[in-house]
Protein backbone atom coordinates (compact mmCIF):
# COMPACT_ATOMS: atom_id res chain seq x y z
CA UNK A 1 0.00 0.00 0.00
CA UNK A 2 2.77 2.34 0.99
CA UNK A 3 4.60 1.45 -2.22
CA UNK A 4 1.47 2.16 -4.26
CA UNK A 5 1.18 5.58 -2.64
CA UNK A 6 4.80 6.30 -3.46
CA UNK A 7 4.30 5.25 -7.09
CA UNK A 8 1.25 7.47 -7.66
CA UNK A 9 3.02 10.81 -8.22
CA UNK A 10 5.29 9.17 -10.78
CA UNK A 11 2.34 7.82 -12.78
CA UNK A 12 0.48 11.11 -12.73
CA UNK A 13 3.60 13.20 -13.43
CA UNK A 14 2.79 15.63 -16.24
CA UNK A 15 4.55 18.44 -17.99
CA UNK A 16 3.50 22.03 -17.30
CA UNK A 17 4.14 22.71 -20.99
CA UNK A 18 1.74 25.31 -22.39
CA UNK A 19 1.37 25.18 -26.13
CA UNK A 20 1.39 28.90 -26.90
CA UNK A 21 3.87 29.89 -24.18
CA UNK A 22 6.52 27.18 -24.54
CA UNK A 23 6.29 26.40 -28.25
CA UNK A 24 9.36 28.42 -29.20
CA UNK A 25 11.52 27.26 -26.25
CA UNK A 26 13.65 25.04 -28.47
CA UNK A 27 14.43 27.92 -30.82
CA UNK A 28 15.60 30.49 -28.28
CA UNK A 29 14.99 30.06 -24.54
CA UNK A 30 16.35 26.51 -24.43
CA UNK A 31 18.43 26.45 -27.60
CA UNK A 32 20.60 23.32 -27.28
CA UNK A 33 23.77 24.99 -28.58
CA UNK A 34 23.71 28.55 -27.30
CA UNK A 35 21.53 28.50 -24.19
CA UNK A 36 21.88 25.07 -22.56
CA UNK A 37 25.02 23.89 -24.42
CA UNK A 38 23.99 20.23 -24.29
CA UNK A 39 24.73 19.53 -27.97
CA UNK A 40 27.81 21.35 -29.18
CA UNK A 41 30.59 18.99 -30.36
CA UNK A 42 29.45 18.80 -34.03
CA UNK A 43 29.04 22.59 -34.17
CA UNK A 44 32.41 23.35 -32.55
CA UNK A 45 34.56 20.84 -34.41
CA UNK A 46 32.80 19.71 -37.59
CA UNK A 47 30.69 22.69 -38.73
CA UNK A 48 33.54 24.59 -40.39
CA UNK A 49 31.78 25.25 -43.70
CA UNK A 50 28.21 26.03 -44.76
CA UNK A 51 27.87 22.66 -46.51
CA UNK A 52 29.11 20.72 -43.48
CA UNK A 53 26.68 22.67 -41.31
CA UNK A 54 23.80 21.70 -43.59
CA UNK A 55 24.81 18.00 -43.65
CA UNK A 56 25.16 17.88 -39.84
CA UNK A 57 21.80 19.64 -39.44
CA UNK A 58 20.05 17.13 -41.75
CA UNK A 59 21.65 14.12 -40.01
CA UNK A 60 20.81 15.53 -36.58
CA UNK A 61 17.21 16.24 -37.58
CA UNK A 62 16.58 12.79 -39.09
CA UNK A 63 18.30 10.73 -36.37
CA UNK A 64 16.98 12.72 -33.38
CA UNK A 65 13.39 13.08 -34.61
CA UNK A 66 12.95 9.44 -35.64
CA UNK A 67 14.65 8.12 -32.48
CA UNK A 68 12.66 10.32 -30.09
CA UNK A 69 9.33 9.53 -31.74
CA UNK A 70 10.05 5.77 -31.94
CA UNK A 71 11.29 5.58 -28.33
CA UNK A 72 8.18 7.37 -27.07
CA UNK A 73 6.37 4.05 -27.59
CA UNK A 74 8.66 2.23 -25.14
CA UNK A 75 6.74 1.52 -21.94
CA UNK A 76 7.73 3.63 -18.94
CA UNK A 77 7.59 0.51 -16.77
CA UNK A 78 11.10 -0.33 -17.96
CA UNK A 79 13.54 1.51 -15.70
CA UNK A 80 15.42 4.40 -17.28
CA UNK A 81 18.78 2.75 -16.54
CA UNK A 82 17.83 0.06 -19.07
CA UNK A 83 15.57 2.13 -21.35
CA UNK A 84 18.55 4.28 -22.25
CA UNK A 85 20.14 1.23 -23.96
CA UNK A 86 17.12 0.96 -26.28
CA UNK A 87 17.42 4.69 -27.12
CA UNK A 88 21.07 4.20 -28.11
CA UNK A 89 20.36 1.12 -30.22
CA UNK A 90 17.37 2.75 -31.98
CA UNK A 91 19.52 5.83 -32.71
CA UNK A 92 22.28 3.66 -34.20
CA UNK A 93 19.74 1.80 -36.36
CA UNK A 94 18.39 5.10 -37.78
CA UNK A 95 21.96 6.24 -38.38
CA UNK A 96 22.40 3.56 -41.09
CA UNK A 97 19.79 4.82 -43.65
CA UNK A 98 20.60 8.43 -42.75
CA UNK A 99 24.30 8.12 -43.55
CA UNK A 100 23.62 6.10 -46.71
CA UNK A 101 21.19 8.78 -47.91
CA UNK A 102 23.55 11.65 -47.11
CA UNK A 103 26.43 9.85 -48.81
CA UNK A 104 24.42 9.78 -52.01
CA UNK A 105 23.77 13.51 -51.73
CA UNK A 106 27.07 14.82 -50.27
CA UNK A 107 29.71 12.04 -50.53
CA UNK A 108 32.82 14.10 -49.77
CA UNK A 109 31.27 16.20 -46.99
CA UNK A 110 30.11 13.11 -45.06
CA UNK A 111 33.65 11.77 -45.16
CA UNK A 112 35.08 15.11 -43.97
CA UNK A 113 32.71 15.24 -40.99
CA UNK A 114 34.21 11.93 -39.86
CA UNK A 115 33.43 10.63 -36.38
CA UNK A 116 31.06 13.54 -35.59
CA UNK A 117 28.44 12.00 -37.86
CA UNK A 118 27.93 8.79 -35.84
CA UNK A 119 28.34 10.73 -32.59
CA UNK A 120 24.98 12.39 -33.28
CA UNK A 121 23.35 9.22 -31.91
CA UNK A 122 24.62 10.08 -28.41
CA UNK A 123 23.21 13.61 -28.36
CA UNK A 124 21.61 14.89 -25.15
CA UNK A 125 18.31 15.62 -26.89
CA UNK A 126 17.77 11.84 -27.05
CA UNK A 127 19.21 10.89 -23.66
CA UNK A 128 18.30 13.81 -21.38
CA UNK A 129 15.59 16.00 -22.88
CA UNK A 130 13.34 13.02 -23.58
CA UNK A 131 13.02 12.22 -19.89
CA UNK A 132 12.98 15.77 -18.55
CA UNK A 133 10.60 17.23 -21.15
CA UNK A 134 9.44 15.43 -24.30
CA UNK A 135 7.99 12.26 -22.77
CA UNK A 136 6.04 14.26 -20.18
CA UNK A 137 3.97 15.87 -22.94
CA UNK A 138 1.24 14.31 -25.08
CA UNK A 139 2.42 12.98 -28.45
CA UNK A 140 1.31 15.85 -30.69
CA UNK A 141 2.84 18.49 -28.42
CA UNK A 142 5.96 16.37 -28.14
CA UNK A 143 6.38 16.17 -31.93
CA UNK A 144 5.98 19.94 -32.35
CA UNK A 145 8.33 20.60 -29.43
CA UNK A 146 10.99 18.21 -30.79
CA UNK A 147 10.76 19.87 -34.22
CA UNK A 148 11.39 23.29 -32.67
CA UNK A 149 14.36 21.99 -30.67
CA UNK A 150 15.80 20.45 -33.84
CA UNK A 151 15.18 23.69 -35.75
CA UNK A 152 17.02 25.59 -32.99
CA UNK A 153 20.07 23.35 -33.40
CA UNK A 154 19.93 23.34 -37.20
CA UNK A 155 19.75 27.12 -37.56
CA UNK A 156 22.75 27.66 -35.27
CA UNK A 157 24.73 24.83 -36.91
CA UNK A 158 24.20 26.19 -40.43
CA UNK A 159 24.86 29.80 -39.35
CA UNK A 160 28.06 28.82 -37.52
CA UNK A 161 29.22 26.78 -40.52
CA UNK A 162 28.50 29.67 -42.90
CA UNK A 163 30.15 32.26 -40.66
CA UNK A 164 33.28 30.13 -40.15
CA UNK A 165 33.54 29.51 -43.90
CA UNK A 166 33.36 33.26 -44.56
CA UNK A 167 36.03 34.19 -42.02
CA UNK A 168 38.28 31.14 -42.60
CA UNK A 169 38.25 30.93 -46.39
CA UNK A 170 36.55 34.11 -47.58
CA UNK A 171 33.85 32.02 -49.29
CA UNK A 172 30.20 31.16 -48.63
CA UNK A 173 28.83 27.84 -49.94
CA UNK A 174 31.89 27.72 -52.22
CA UNK A 175 31.36 31.20 -53.72
CA UNK A 176 34.40 33.46 -53.35
CA UNK A 177 33.60 36.67 -51.43
CA UNK A 178 37.00 38.16 -50.57
CA UNK A 179 40.67 37.19 -50.07
CA UNK A 180 40.88 38.03 -46.38
CA UNK A 181 40.83 34.99 -44.06
CA UNK A 182 41.47 34.02 -40.41
CA UNK A 183 42.32 30.30 -40.62
CA UNK A 184 42.40 29.84 -36.80
CA UNK A 185 38.60 29.78 -36.65
CA UNK A 186 38.62 26.45 -38.45
CA UNK A 187 40.42 24.80 -35.52
CA UNK A 188 38.74 23.44 -32.35
CA UNK A 189 39.97 26.35 -30.21
CA UNK A 190 38.55 28.81 -32.73
CA UNK A 191 35.27 26.88 -32.63
CA UNK A 192 35.12 26.95 -28.83
CA UNK A 193 35.84 30.67 -28.62
CA UNK A 194 33.41 31.50 -31.42
CA UNK A 195 30.55 29.43 -29.96
CA UNK A 196 31.26 30.87 -26.49
CA UNK A 197 31.05 34.44 -27.80
CA UNK A 198 27.95 33.59 -29.85
CA UNK A 199 26.30 32.05 -26.76
CA UNK A 200 27.07 35.10 -24.60
CA UNK A 201 25.82 37.52 -27.24
CA UNK A 202 22.68 35.46 -27.84
CA UNK A 203 21.93 35.36 -24.11
CA UNK A 204 22.50 39.10 -23.75
CA UNK A 205 20.14 39.77 -26.67
CA UNK A 206 17.55 37.33 -25.33
CA UNK A 207 17.70 38.91 -21.83
CA UNK A 208 17.42 42.41 -23.32
CA UNK A 209 14.35 41.48 -25.39
CA UNK A 210 12.76 39.65 -22.44
CA UNK A 211 13.32 42.59 -20.07
CA UNK A 212 11.94 45.00 -22.68
CA UNK A 213 8.84 42.85 -23.09
CA UNK A 214 8.41 42.66 -19.31
CA UNK A 215 8.71 46.49 -19.06
CA UNK A 216 6.23 46.98 -21.91
CA UNK A 217 3.79 44.57 -20.29
CA UNK A 218 4.23 46.31 -16.94
CA UNK A 219 3.65 49.73 -18.54
CA UNK A 220 0.56 48.46 -20.34
CA UNK A 221 -0.69 46.89 -17.13
CA UNK A 222 -0.08 50.14 -15.21
CA UNK A 223 -1.90 52.18 -17.85
CA UNK A 224 -4.87 49.84 -17.66
CA UNK A 225 -4.76 49.97 -13.86
CA UNK A 226 -4.77 53.79 -13.96
CA UNK A 227 -7.77 53.75 -16.31
CA UNK A 228 -9.64 51.36 -14.02
CA UNK A 229 -8.72 53.48 -10.99
CA UNK A 230 -9.91 56.72 -12.64
CA UNK A 231 -13.09 55.10 -13.78
CA UNK A 232 -13.70 53.71 -10.31
CA UNK A 233 -12.90 57.01 -8.59
CA UNK A 234 -15.22 58.97 -10.93
CA UNK A 235 -17.90 56.36 -10.27
CA UNK A 236 -17.32 56.83 -6.55
CA UNK A 237 -17.71 60.59 -6.90
CA UNK A 238 -20.99 60.08 -8.74
CA UNK A 239 -22.11 57.59 -6.11
CA UNK A 240 -21.09 60.02 -3.39
CA UNK A 241 -23.18 62.79 -5.07
CA UNK A 242 -26.31 60.74 -5.61
CA UNK A 243 -27.08 60.00 -1.93
CA UNK A 244 -26.85 63.74 -1.16
CA UNK A 245 -29.46 64.51 -3.81
CA UNK A 246 -31.55 61.65 -2.62
CA UNK A 247 -31.26 62.92 0.91
CA UNK A 248 -32.28 66.43 -0.37
CA UNK A 249 -35.29 64.98 -2.11
CA UNK A 250 -36.21 63.14 1.01
CA UNK A 251 -36.13 66.44 2.90
Amino acid sequence: MAQAKQMKPLKTRKSNFKFTRDLFDGLAKQNVVLMTGIVNAPVIIAATTFKKGVVIAIAFALISFLTIVTCSFIPKKIVYTLRVIIYAVVGSVYYIPTVLLLEQMFPLTVELIGIYMPLIITNALIFSKTESRFYLENRLKMIVDVLFFIAGFSVICVLTGGFREVICFGTLAGIKLFDFSIAAFESPFGGFILVGIMAGTFRALYNYLRNRRIKQNAAQHNAEAVKVYRKASSQNKKDAGTPALQSGNEK
Binding site: G37, N40, A41, L119
Partner: protein, 198 residues
Protein backbone atom coordinates in the same frame (compact mmCIF):
# COMPACT_ATOMS: atom_id res chain seq x y z
CA UNK B 1 58.91 -3.80 -22.78
CA UNK B 2 57.87 -2.91 -26.33
CA UNK B 3 54.24 -3.55 -25.43
CA UNK B 4 54.51 -1.24 -22.41
CA UNK B 5 56.05 1.48 -24.58
CA UNK B 6 53.24 1.08 -27.11
CA UNK B 7 50.73 1.38 -24.30
CA UNK B 8 52.36 4.53 -22.86
CA UNK B 9 52.80 6.05 -26.32
CA UNK B 10 49.12 5.55 -27.19
CA UNK B 11 48.02 6.84 -23.78
CA UNK B 12 50.13 10.02 -24.10
CA UNK B 13 48.84 10.59 -27.64
CA UNK B 14 45.24 10.28 -26.48
CA UNK B 15 45.76 12.38 -23.36
CA UNK B 16 47.47 15.40 -24.89
CA UNK B 17 47.20 15.36 -28.68
CA UNK B 18 43.70 13.89 -29.00
CA UNK B 19 42.38 15.22 -25.67
CA UNK B 20 38.69 14.37 -25.43
CA UNK B 21 37.61 17.89 -24.45
CA UNK B 22 40.31 20.31 -25.58
CA UNK B 23 41.05 18.80 -28.99
CA UNK B 24 37.87 16.90 -29.85
CA UNK B 25 35.04 18.47 -27.78
CA UNK B 26 33.82 14.96 -26.90
CA UNK B 27 31.45 14.87 -23.94
CA UNK B 28 31.60 18.61 -23.29
CA UNK B 29 28.11 18.75 -21.76
CA UNK B 30 28.96 15.84 -19.41
CA UNK B 31 32.18 17.68 -18.47
CA UNK B 32 30.16 20.81 -17.60
CA UNK B 33 27.88 18.70 -15.42
CA UNK B 34 30.75 16.82 -13.74
CA UNK B 35 32.86 19.92 -13.07
CA UNK B 36 30.29 21.32 -10.62
CA UNK B 37 31.08 18.84 -7.82
CA UNK B 38 34.26 17.07 -6.79
CA UNK B 39 32.41 13.79 -6.18
CA UNK B 40 30.95 13.83 -9.69
CA UNK B 41 34.42 14.27 -11.22
CA UNK B 42 35.68 11.16 -9.48
CA UNK B 43 32.53 9.10 -10.09
CA UNK B 44 32.18 9.97 -13.76
CA UNK B 45 35.94 9.73 -14.31
CA UNK B 46 36.07 6.19 -12.95
CA UNK B 47 32.91 5.20 -14.86
CA UNK B 48 34.13 6.57 -18.17
CA UNK B 49 37.62 5.05 -17.76
CA UNK B 50 36.17 1.62 -16.97
CA UNK B 51 33.71 1.61 -19.90
CA UNK B 52 36.23 2.94 -22.44
CA UNK B 53 39.01 0.50 -21.49
CA UNK B 54 36.80 -2.62 -21.42
CA UNK B 55 34.95 -1.61 -24.61
CA UNK B 56 38.25 -0.81 -26.38
CA UNK B 57 39.54 -4.31 -25.62
CA UNK B 58 36.37 -5.85 -27.09
CA UNK B 59 36.27 -3.60 -30.15
CA UNK B 60 39.89 -4.50 -30.96
CA UNK B 61 38.75 -8.02 -31.85
CA UNK B 62 35.65 -6.77 -33.71
CA UNK B 63 37.78 -4.36 -35.75
CA UNK B 64 40.14 -7.19 -36.65
CA UNK B 65 37.18 -9.22 -37.84
CA UNK B 66 35.14 -6.66 -39.73
CA UNK B 67 37.64 -3.98 -40.80
CA UNK B 68 37.74 -5.31 -44.37
CA UNK B 69 33.97 -5.29 -44.79
CA UNK B 70 32.80 -2.55 -47.16
CA UNK B 71 29.93 -1.34 -44.99
CA UNK B 72 31.67 -1.62 -41.63
CA UNK B 73 31.72 2.18 -41.16
CA UNK B 74 27.92 2.24 -41.55
CA UNK B 75 27.15 -0.43 -38.93
CA UNK B 76 30.10 0.49 -36.68
CA UNK B 77 28.02 2.79 -34.41
CA UNK B 78 25.40 0.06 -33.94
CA UNK B 79 28.05 -2.58 -33.11
CA UNK B 80 29.88 -0.26 -30.71
CA UNK B 81 26.61 0.77 -29.05
CA UNK B 82 25.78 -2.90 -28.48
CA UNK B 83 29.28 -3.51 -27.05
CA UNK B 84 28.99 -0.51 -24.70
CA UNK B 85 25.47 -1.60 -23.70
CA UNK B 86 26.68 -5.10 -22.84
CA UNK B 87 29.53 -3.71 -20.72
CA UNK B 88 27.09 -1.29 -19.05
CA UNK B 89 24.43 -3.92 -18.31
CA UNK B 90 26.95 -6.53 -17.11
CA UNK B 91 28.68 -4.06 -14.81
CA UNK B 92 25.37 -2.77 -13.43
CA UNK B 93 24.21 -6.31 -12.69
CA UNK B 94 27.43 -7.09 -10.84
CA UNK B 95 27.24 -3.85 -8.83
CA UNK B 96 23.53 -4.36 -8.11
CA UNK B 97 24.15 -7.94 -6.93
CA UNK B 98 27.28 -7.43 -4.83
CA UNK B 99 27.33 -3.69 -3.96
CA UNK B 100 23.71 -2.54 -3.60
CA UNK B 101 24.66 0.61 -1.67
CA UNK B 102 26.96 1.81 -4.44
CA UNK B 103 24.29 0.90 -7.01
CA UNK B 104 21.75 3.15 -5.27
CA UNK B 105 24.24 6.03 -5.28
CA UNK B 106 25.34 5.74 -8.89
CA UNK B 107 22.12 4.77 -10.65
CA UNK B 108 21.06 8.41 -11.14
CA UNK B 109 24.03 9.38 -13.29
CA UNK B 110 25.61 6.10 -14.35
CA UNK B 111 24.10 6.35 -17.86
CA UNK B 112 25.88 9.71 -18.27
CA UNK B 113 29.25 8.02 -17.94
CA UNK B 114 28.36 5.40 -20.55
CA UNK B 115 26.20 6.92 -23.28
CA UNK B 116 28.14 10.04 -24.09
CA UNK B 117 30.27 11.29 -26.95
CA UNK B 118 33.53 10.71 -25.02
CA UNK B 119 33.02 6.93 -24.80
CA UNK B 120 31.82 6.32 -28.36
CA UNK B 121 34.24 8.94 -29.70
CA UNK B 122 37.16 7.14 -28.04
CA UNK B 123 36.12 3.88 -29.69
CA UNK B 124 35.77 5.55 -33.12
CA UNK B 125 39.18 7.23 -32.78
CA UNK B 126 40.72 3.94 -31.72
CA UNK B 127 39.40 2.35 -34.90
CA UNK B 128 40.78 5.26 -36.95
CA UNK B 129 44.31 4.77 -35.53
CA UNK B 130 43.99 0.96 -35.73
CA UNK B 131 46.96 -0.10 -33.61
CA UNK B 132 47.56 -3.38 -31.81
CA UNK B 133 45.84 -4.60 -28.63
CA UNK B 134 48.06 -2.59 -26.25
CA UNK B 135 47.65 0.56 -28.32
CA UNK B 136 43.88 0.13 -28.11
CA UNK B 137 44.06 -0.22 -24.34
CA UNK B 138 46.53 2.64 -23.96
CA UNK B 139 44.42 4.90 -26.16
CA UNK B 140 41.34 4.09 -24.08
CA UNK B 141 43.14 4.86 -20.82
CA UNK B 142 44.61 8.04 -22.33
CA UNK B 143 41.26 9.37 -23.55
CA UNK B 144 39.70 8.74 -20.14
CA UNK B 145 42.66 10.33 -18.33
CA UNK B 146 42.53 13.31 -20.70
CA UNK B 147 38.83 13.71 -20.00
CA UNK B 148 39.52 13.53 -16.26
CA UNK B 149 42.27 16.19 -16.50
CA UNK B 150 40.01 18.48 -18.55
CA UNK B 151 37.12 18.15 -16.10
CA UNK B 152 39.49 18.85 -13.21
CA UNK B 153 40.68 22.07 -14.92
CA UNK B 154 37.06 23.10 -15.48
CA UNK B 155 36.28 22.41 -11.82
CA UNK B 156 39.16 24.62 -10.68
CA UNK B 157 38.02 27.43 -12.96
CA UNK B 158 34.32 26.96 -12.23
CA UNK B 159 34.03 29.37 -9.27
CA UNK B 160 36.00 32.14 -10.95
CA UNK B 161 34.12 31.79 -14.21
CA UNK B 162 30.81 32.20 -12.38
CA UNK B 163 31.92 35.23 -10.35
CA UNK B 164 30.16 38.62 -10.58
CA UNK B 165 33.22 39.97 -12.42
CA UNK B 166 32.00 38.15 -15.53
CA UNK B 167 29.15 39.90 -17.42
CA UNK B 168 25.85 38.24 -16.54
CA UNK B 169 25.12 36.99 -20.07
CA UNK B 170 28.51 35.27 -20.31
CA UNK B 171 28.41 33.64 -16.87
CA UNK B 172 28.26 29.83 -16.92
CA UNK B 173 28.38 28.00 -20.25
CA UNK B 174 29.55 30.80 -22.63
CA UNK B 175 32.60 31.82 -20.60
CA UNK B 176 33.36 28.14 -19.95
CA UNK B 177 33.47 27.63 -23.75
CA UNK B 178 35.88 30.55 -24.15
CA UNK B 179 37.99 29.12 -21.32
CA UNK B 180 38.08 25.68 -23.00
CA UNK B 181 39.04 27.43 -26.24
CA UNK B 182 42.05 29.09 -24.57
CA UNK B 183 43.03 25.80 -22.88
CA UNK B 184 42.66 24.08 -26.25
CA UNK B 185 45.02 26.64 -27.76
CA UNK B 186 47.54 25.80 -25.01
CA UNK B 187 47.18 22.07 -25.77
CA UNK B 188 47.79 22.81 -29.45
CA UNK B 189 51.18 24.15 -28.45
CA UNK B 190 52.15 20.55 -27.68
CA UNK B 191 51.66 19.47 -31.26
CA UNK B 192 52.36 22.73 -33.03
CA UNK B 193 49.83 24.72 -34.98
CA UNK B 194 50.07 25.63 -38.62
CA UNK B 195 47.64 28.31 -39.74
CA UNK B 196 47.91 27.23 -43.35
CA UNK B 197 46.58 23.69 -43.18
CA UNK B 198 44.86 22.10 -40.20
Amino acid sequence: MDKLLLFINAAMLAMFVENAIFSRALGTSVAFYASRKKESIFGLGVGITYVIVISSCITYFIDGWLAEWQYFYVVMPLIYTVVVSIVYTGSLLIIWRFMPKIFRNIKKYVHLSVFNAAVLGALFLNTTYHGDFFSYMGFGVGIAAGFFIAVFFLHIANDRLNSPLIPEAFRGMPIMMVFIGIMSLAFYALTGYNTGAI
